[in-house]
């Protein structure tokens, strides 16, 4: 593995694309504002200058088109990495993603495939209001034929993105935009942290992979298992630390396919399970996690599985921090599950 340097999450994501474009002439990136400008979050900065307009380019503002064109490119033999500017804007592309990309291998008996990685920033905590804050991952986990990946550190972001680009099936790669610049502790009213002293921000410069479908136990513990991903990994870790609870924190990293072994082993060990995500509660991915844990660990559970999630409302602009499942709500749930 190559030399390790400090990167924030945007730099790590940028580096993953750079590495893959360098290695594989079939990798191309495209999307609204990703070309000359390098993306509204700068994730594709420098790629057009380095690889040319034919491999990193701006697109018309039509998510249907971005996804449909990526599928055609994939059928040709390219390996497109389209960006959807905000995950909230993936809905216009849903039919192309769900009915086409995710079904192409199956319906053509592998005659055609869709080796596409869709990158999109998601989640709240940046005062983005209803349409720049959503966490739609649950919807995609319901769709057969596609994978959903969410990193929580620069290291994972780069390694998972490389693995996603190398994967021969469509992968939705959701980027927790709240932690692009630093691991969020969950206290909106305290100074923000940067990635500076975080071990997950030591990132190899070259090619490496973090395998899809493998969770990470980011904190071993005995009292309770907490399943989470993305921004919430940091909020949870910080809350657990503040409360001094011996929780085992599992960062899922890939939602589909899920690393059920790690989850099962942890819950069977701790006997308690809590699930934290930012997405709305009803039919969120937490429901699936809860169902699976219950199915597999029923006789080991000492307390009801708890879900701490976004509320079943749109993301409200001014009450963002009341909506966000922060330390207070996670803490309350933790106390409850440990008492139960």
């Amino acid at each position: 593995m190559s030399d390790t340097i400090h990167m924030n999450m945007i730099q790590a994501i940028n580096s993953a694309m750079d590495v893959m474009m360098e290695r594989d002439p079939n990798v191309i990136v495209m999307g609204e504002d990703v070309g000359y400008f390098g993306g509204v979050f700068r994730a594709t900065a420098g790629l057009q200058a380095k690889y040319g307009k034919g491999r990193a380019f701006d697109t018309p503002i039509t998510e249907i088109g971005i996804m449909g064109v990526a599928i055609g490119m994939g059928a040709y033999g390219l390996r497109p990495v389209p960006e959807i500017q905000f995950a909230d804007y993936i809905y216009p592309a849903l039919d192309q993603l769900v009915s086409e990309a995710a079904r192409l291998r199956y319906r053509s008996a592998a005659d055609f495939t869709a080796p596409i990685t869709i990158r999109s920033p998601y989640g709240g905590g940046i005062f983005g209001g209803q349409t720049h804050s959503q966490s739609p991952e649950g919807i995609f986990t319901h769709v057969s034929g596609m994978k959903t990946v969410i990193p929580s550190t620069p290291y994972d972001a780069k390694g998972l993105l490389i693995a996603a680009i190398e994967d021969n099936d469509p992968v939705l790669f959701l980027e927790p935009k709240r932690i692009y610049n630093g691991p969020f502790h969950g206290h909106y009213d305290r100074p923000a942290k940067t990635w500076a002293d975080h071990p997950g921000a030591q990132v190899p410069e070259g090619h490496y992979r973090v395998e899809l479908g493998k969770a990470a136990v980011v904190r071993p513990g005995e009292a309770v298992t907490i399943l989470c991903y993305g921004t919430m990994v940091h909020v949870v870790a910080n809350t657990v630390e503040e409360m001094g609870v011996d929780a085992e924190i599992v960062d899922l990293r890939t939602l589909v396919p899920l690393d059920i072994e790690t989850i099962e082993a942890s819950v069977k060990k701790t006997g308690r399970c809590m699930i934290v995500h930012e997405a709305t509660r009803t039919s969120g991915f937490g429901a699936e996690l809860s169902a699976q844990v219950q199915e597999r660990c029923f006789y080991h559970l000492e307390a009801p599985i708890e879900r701490v999630t976004g509320f079943d409302t749109p993301y409200p602009h001014s009450l963002e921090w009341a909506y966000f499942p922060g330390p207070v709500r996670i803490g309350t749930a933790l106390k409850k599950i440990l008492k139960d």
């Binding site: 088109g65 449909g68 055609g72 059928a75 033999g77 192309q96 086409e100 053509s108």
Partner: protein, 423 residues
């Protein structure tokens, strides 16, 4: 507040809801449909700017005249062999459609869709394209596969979802896919293939390849957002793609007016994006050939996309699930002013002394026998619902490149359950 206009005396607004000219019981009469004479439309140079021939989007490129002669600048001057191949492909497609329609009625499969009356659209185009150009069809271009020599028995295996079905029983009948034959996997969702074709063409261009793509959708499907996204991408990147709109007048029970045909042509959509637009007599195989050839040349020389409206008529029901007499005049197919594409090419070949009625009748017989024979062959591999399907466990394969644990688990569960139930 803004300046209030006095609207007291304004007439009330009214909602215009289109209505086709003929409904069941009406006598269909298309005598007022404007059919320009064959040979009358100019053929611009393929290097001309799209903005210099807007009128072609409102005209009708026609080659075969009333006397069976090929006339005018669009005559592709194919040799007689090529024309006979064209005729044969069209007749084979029709024979195939007849046979498979009947197979569905006999309960051998769940569904079928004919292309009767529209054979020229797919076959004219397939002959003008190179064999390795990539087609992104809708469900009514079986003629492309037939023209390209895809095995008839394989098509039937797909329709029967039997154990020899290359799509492993996973797709609705007629939703073929063949990369080898340059035929993209057909989708049930309308118009999704349009931006995909653009993506393929853009990839080909980005790679400095020489292959182009072509795509088809019905006039009804042009209303989908995918259509617009495709044309927008294509005009922006000058993608080497041919857009075909098969205007067969009907979208299930809705006439073309519900896709906007009352106000303008579908070829005119091209003008809106600044791309080349052509309107073609879709029942004239030579005109379709010529238009496709012209569009392909534009694409291959980096002149960008062309949209071709094929003005034709869906002579039968939408599918085996449809009875068109419930919503349109039964006389429409016969009254259709552009005639039958097979009859027209046949008469042309006869008129130029390269074909005769006897040979045609013999060919019809031969093709009927051919499809019957292929059908027998296919049925050896099973018909839908009669046991000779793919193994049950195959259902879990191909969702991903590698079967993930949860699908393996579900697969095992299904096998266990079936075993326990004695299935």
């Amino acid at each position: 507040m803004s300046i209030e206009r006095d609207r007291a005396n304004l007439p009330p607004l009214a909602l215009h809801v289109p209505e086709p000219r003929f409904r069941p019981g009406d006598e269909a009469d298309f005598s007022d449909v404007d059919v320009p004479p064959a040979g009358a439309t100019r053929r611009p140079d393929t290097a001309d700017a799209a903005s210099s021939f807007h009128e072609l989007a409102y005209g009708l490129v026609r080659v075969l005249d009333e006397n069976g002669q090929a006339v005018g600048p669009w005559d592709p001057r194919l040799d007689a062999d090529a024309k006979r191949r064209m005729l044969r492909s069209m007749a084979l497609t029709r024979a195939f459609d007849e046979r498979m329609f009947r197979a569905q009625r006999q309960g051998k499969t769940s569904f079928y869709m004919k292309s009767t009356g529209e054979e020229a659209v797919s076959i004219g185009a397939a002959m003008a394209l190179a064999g390795d150009d990539m087609c992104f069809p809708s469900y009514r271009q079986q003629g492309i596969l037939i023209t390209r020599g895809y095995p008839i028995v394989t098509m039937m295996n797909q329709i029967y979802s039997n154990k020899a079905d290359p799509l492993e029983g996973r797709q609705l009948p007629i939703m073929y896919s063949s990369k080898e034959y340059g035929f993209f996997s057909i989708s049930g969702n309308l118009a999704t293939q349009y931006p995909q074709a653009v993506g393929w063409a853009m990839a080909s261009a980005a790679k400095g390849d020489t292959r182009i793509s072509a795509t088809w959708c019905g006039e009804g499907s042009t209303a989908e957002g995918d259509f617009h996204s495709a044309l927008t991408f294509a005009t922006v990147y000058k993608a080497p793609v041919i857009f075909n709109v098969v205007n067969n007048q009907w979208a299930i029970s809705s006439f073309s007016g519900f896709a906007g045909a009352e106000a303008t042509t579908f070829a005119a959509r091209a003008i809106g994006y600044g791309i080349a637009g052509l309107r073609v007599d879709g029942n004239d195989a030579l005109a379709v050939y010529a238009a496709t050839q012209w569009a392909a040349e534009r694409a291959r020389t980096n002149q960008g996309p062309t949209l071709i409206e094929h003005f034709t008529y869906r002579a039968e029901g939408h599918s085996t699930s449809d009875d068109p007499t419930a919503y349109r005049s039964a006389g429409e197919p016969n009254a259709w002013p552009l005639g039958d594409p097979i009859r027209r090419l046949k008469e042309h070949l006869i008129a130029i002394g390269e074909w005769d009625e006897e040979r045609h009748a013999a060919q019809d017989l031969e093709l009927a026998e051919l499809v019957k024979r292929e059908q027998k062959e296919a049925e050896k591999n099973g018909i839908l619902g009669h046991g000779m399907h793919q193994p049950f466990e195959s259902m879990f394969e191909g969702v991903f490149e590698e079967i993930p644990w949860h699908l393996k688990e579900q697969q095992q569960q299904m096998l266990d359950e079936q075993k326990a139930a004695g299935l």
